[in-house]
């Protein structure tokens, strides 16, 4: 038993829903109690989908448990097939139905349906949403893909994009264009937008592009083994990764590839003088493994940030993230407990967080700017505009995403010079953001935050180190976005020197010590 307040991932059947909802002509019959229909709103509200997810819930109640939930399942299943006329169905159980052991798969098989019935075994008490999506997609591919000849032209499939994925809609469009520029046509995109009939055609492609390892890797590995289709290992998020991906595709298709980079603006934006202020910004990166790995490289090599910590919530990616963290000389944080993440961020006091909706809330609480780079995300992170993460346009978009939460270069200097200006003070936040005066103190559409005080302002000093009043006063003159770091550095410095009091001199000695 583990006490949980907020979760990064839902249960595995929600992962199965992400696959079913992404596809067309597929229906999911889910043995589940009343109330599990809440998951529909993830798609209709958060992602603003205009159709109900293709899911039929059996909706059993307490009074059914003594009698016949199996018949209820069969009736629901038959009704769903009659009403929605799908090409195939997937059947499974949510956490509660798993306990009553009705065996939806076995029941559905006895019904003599004329369409493929794909059973799902998703252990609700061990695994989570990403596993559920990955496993579901794998089962669908395994059941439906048919051996066949390759297309005459060089084609690939794009594997992994789902409903509720982070920017999957736009990533599919961007990567399709990129592949087209490389002379590679797309055979099937799946699960997003694919029908069961399309899934059958997967083996016609020459290779697979694994766009989202979290949700497509099991299927990609199965296709590699059983249909001899290689798949790409590099997810083209960032300038360097995109170039590497292009080279990887070139080596798979056995041809040198040349590409027009004129749409790629990010490198110049990053080299231009205004970006100087980005140099060495200390960032903490947390999210799913794929996005974290991509953003670590972007942060260090393409933005000139300093990566002070990274981690992921999906244990499936623990190994590569640990290895990567080692390369970056930091400790990897592998956890799905947001309190641990908050603790790590508080300790490291980064100047910026690249994270999920959880880290955005943590950032709000701690007064640290945050850019959202990974699922799970709120409704406002499903933008109307074209906003891919992959490819050249993705790199451009990410540059904008990463600088938006920050105070801009000259503004940062002005804040430092005129600290007590009544309008232009540090609590006001970046001037290009609205609502200057206060930290949001209420439930906004963007997710609420009822903390009214930034933690740095009340954070107690380390035990047995006392701030003298003049040093404390001086600390308050330091702009808020570096104050946390200054406080922490000074205290660390004092502790190292064995000082029990921090004076004005200690503050500036520490500043000189950490100067870079």
């Amino acid at each position: 038993m583990k006490l949980t307040v907020w979760t990064y991932e839902g249960p595995p059947h929600v992962g199965a829903m992400r696959v079913a909802t992404a596809m067309k002509g597929l229906h999911y019959v889910l043995h589940a109690p009343q109330g599990d229909t809440y998951a529909d709103l993830l798609f209709t509200m958060i992602e603003r989908r205009s159709k109900r997810p293709p899911v039929t819930y059996t909706t059993f109640q307490a009074r059914d448990l003594g009698s016949d939930t199996a018949t209820l399942f069969k009736t629901s299943c038959q009704n769903a097939v009659d009403r929605f006329n799908p090409q195939a169905i997937i059947v499974g159980a949510s956490c509660t139905a798993e306990l009553i052991q009705d065996d939806p798969a076995g029941l559905a098989e006895t019904m003599g349906l004329s369409i493929p019935v794909i059973p799902l075994e998703l252990p609700s008490y061990q695994r989570k949403e990403n596993f559920g999506a990955d496993e579901t997609f794998y089962q669908i591919v395994k059941h439906l893909a048919k051996p066949q000849d390759r297309t005459s032209r060089v084609t690939c499939n794009i594997l992994g994009p789902t409903a509720l994925g982070f920017r999957h809609r736009d990533d599919v469009e961007e990567i399709t264009g990129l592949l087209s520029d490389l002379g590679v046509n797309v055979n099937v995109v799946a699960p997003l937008g694919a029908t069961p009939a399309d899934i059958a055609q997967l083996p016609a492609a020459h290779f697979n592009v694994l766009l989202s390892p979290e949700t497509g890797e099991a299927a990609a590995r199965w296709l590699e083994k059983n249909h001899d289709q290689p798949f790409t290992r590099i997810v083209p998020i960032g300038v360097g990764a995109t170039r590497d991906f292009i080279a990887e595709v070139g080596s798979i298709i056995g041809k040198p590839v040349l590409i027009d980079e004129s749409r790629l603006r990010m490198p110049w934006w990053s080299r231009s003088v205004d970006s100087t202020y980005l140099t060495g910004k200390r960032v903490f990166i947390f999210g799913d493994g794929t996005h974290v790995a991509a953003h670590a490289r972007i942060a260090r090599d393409e933005m000139g940030f300093e990566v002070v910590g990274m981690g992921c919530y999906n244990r499936e990616m623990a190994r590569p993230i640990r290895a990567l963290a080692k390369d970056y000389g930091v400790e990897a944080l592998i956890t799905d407990d947001y309190l641990e993440v908050e603790q790590a961020i508080e300790t490291l006091a980064p100047e910026m967080i690249l994270g999920t909706q959880m880290e955005r809330h943590i950032g709000k609480r701690l007064g640290i700017p945050c850019a959202v780079i990974s699922a799970p995300v709120h409704v406002q992170d499903y933008p109307a505009r074209y906003s891919p993460q992959v490819g050249f346009e993705g790199a451009n978009v990410i540059f904008d995403t990463l600088i938006h939460p920050l105070v801009m270069g000259l503004e940062e200097h002005l804040l430092t010079m005129f600290r007590d200006d009544f309008e232009f003070h540090d609590a006001a936040g970046p001037s290009h953001h609205g609502g200057h005066a206060q930290i949001s103190s209420n439930l906004g559409a963007s997710g609420g935050d009822i903390s009214t005080q930034k933690k740095w302002d009340v954070a107690p000093a380390l035990d047995n180190v006392v701030w003298l009043s003049d040093a404390e006063k001086e600390l308050k003159k330091i702009p808020f976005f570096v104050r946390g770091k200054a406080r922490r550095n000074t205290e660390t410095y004092a502790a190292e020197k064995g000082l029990s009091q921090i004076s004005l001199d200690t503050l500036y000695e520490a500043k000189a010590h950490y100067a870079r």
Binding site: V5, P11, V14, M45, S50, A62
Partner: protein, 427 residues
């Protein structure tokens, strides 16, 4: 004395009810925790459940309230399923850890879920045991918010009903007002009744455990929410007497509700008018303005919170709408009867749900406004039907006079929005 006039064509109390069973597009009772944990400031709600329960609470809230909330889920893992003795042991450990970290918590609710009930974790035994361990500082109670037992607002009902047996005894003649209301609305309600000279007034739930809510044979109680059937029964078992009344939505409903209470306490007509005249006039004016676009329009209610019948009464009688179907998850005559009496005959009254069949009826009827849950709203909008998401009616202050205009506004906003947007392509 102008009691509300029953409709000329007879009400809906004896109308045939369409009872359906099938897929229900509703939340389970755990959802009530979202508002209950704000209402009771010294309470913590610990769901004993699965990752699904935690995910529901996070998603249903729509926004995440990111100060550490006073609720959480003890997620069952494979090992808990194997041995129940261990599950109790684990629960004790998690509770001890939680209470150590949150010394401000004075009442702890262990909330049962679908999985905890299916594997029969006895939470009442756990609550007793934990009460003994943590008394007197913390009181531990339990109730079920599971989907197999409760629909959405029934979670609040189960929570309040669990508190009734532990309320102190009293022989005093007191008015007990039952149902979690936003503080501002609660204050208005208490103020109106106090001005009429009614008292002492007690509240369930009280904002804090130390408050003096008690119950006994001389207690009379009024419900402020139409979904409190079990609490109603539990108070009856303690000897308290229920004041049946329409629910306090809109000017007419509020007046009828206040009048029923005033009558029970012998308040004079003159006094009643003196206290209510000004807010009644304000409410009528506000409703008239806010309901302008609602007049002559039709409304279709999908079942959600059990607020549907009183709200249909408000929309038909005070806002000039026509109800096509009024669906409620459950209909409870002792609670909903007075509102059904006033609801003009005509609409199909339905109880329970088979969502696909009900959607077919809504599509055929093409109502001007459909009141439904979050899972259905955008799909129906995409089909050209205007919708009001029902959950907002539970999350917004809508009771009593000063909110009557806001209540009408919640329904008129989708229609106003539709009329102001000019997004269609030119012909």
């Amino acid at each position: 004395m102008n009691a509300p006039m029953p409709p000329a064509n007879g009400g809906c109390r004896t109308a045939p009810v369409l009872k359906e069973r099938g897929q229900r597009e509703v939340f389970c009772g755990l959802t009530g925790i979202i508002w209950l944990h704000r209402k009771m400031q010294d309470a913590f709600f610990l769901v004993v459940g699965s990752r699904t329960c935690a995910h529901l609470l996070q998603s249903a809230a729509g926004v995440m309230i990111f100060a550490e909330p006073r609720f959480g889920t003890a997620i069952l893992e494979e090992t808990d399923l194997a041995g129940l003795a261990d599950a109790h042991h684990e629960l004790d450990r998690e509770v001890a850890r939680l209470l150590a970290r949150r010394p401000d918590i004075r009442q702890l609710f262990l909330v049962g879920s679908c999985p905890s009930e299916v594997i029969k974790i006895d939470l009442s035994r756990a609550a007793e045991r934990l009460s003994q361990i943590h008394a007197p500082h913390v009181r531990v109670l339990n109730y079920s918010g599971s989907g197999i037992e409760t629909t959405f607002t029934q979670g609040e009902d189960a929570c309040l009903a669990s508190m009734v047996p532990v309320l102190k005894d009293t022989t005093a003649r007191e008015l007990l007002l039952v149902g979690a209301l936003p503080d501002v609305v609660e204050d208005q309600m208490v103020d109106l009744l106090t001005q009429m000279g009614i008292g002492p007034i007690r509240l369930l739930p009280a904002r804090r455990i130390d408050d003096t809510t008690a119950v006994g044979a001389n207690t009379v109680f009024a419900l402020t929410q139409p979904f409190l059937g079990d609490t109603h029964a539990a108070l009856g078992r303690r000897g308290a007497r229920h004041i049946a009344a329409p629910f306090p939505f809109g000017e007419e409903g509020t007046t009828a509700w206040l009048r029923a209470v005033a009558t029970a306490f012998g308040v004079s007509e003159a006094k009643f008018d003196e206290v209510t005249a000004a807010p009644r006039a304000r409410a009528r004016k506000a409703i008239a303005q806010a309901s302008e676009v609602l007049r002559g329009k039709s409304v279709f209610f999908f079942p959600d919170s059990q607020l549907e019948i009183p709200l249909a009464r408000f929309l038909t009688r005070e806002c000039g709408m026509t109800a096509i179907e009024v669906g409620s998850p459950y209909i409870h005559d002792a609670l909903h009867g007075p509102d059904l009496d006033l609801l003009p005959a005509g609409p199909q009254i339905s109880e329970g749900q088979d969502v696909d069949k009900q959607l077919a009826r809504a599509r055929a009827a093409r109502p001007d406004l459909t009141v439904c849950g979050l899972g259905l709203a955008n799909p129906l909008e995409a089909e050209g039907l205007s919708t009001k998401w029902a959950i907002e009616l539970v999350f917004t202050p809508v009771h009593f006079y000063e909110q009557a205009g806001d209540l009408a506004g919640l329904f008129s906003r989708p229609l106003r929005r539709k009329s102001v947007l000019r997004l269609e392509a030119a012909e």
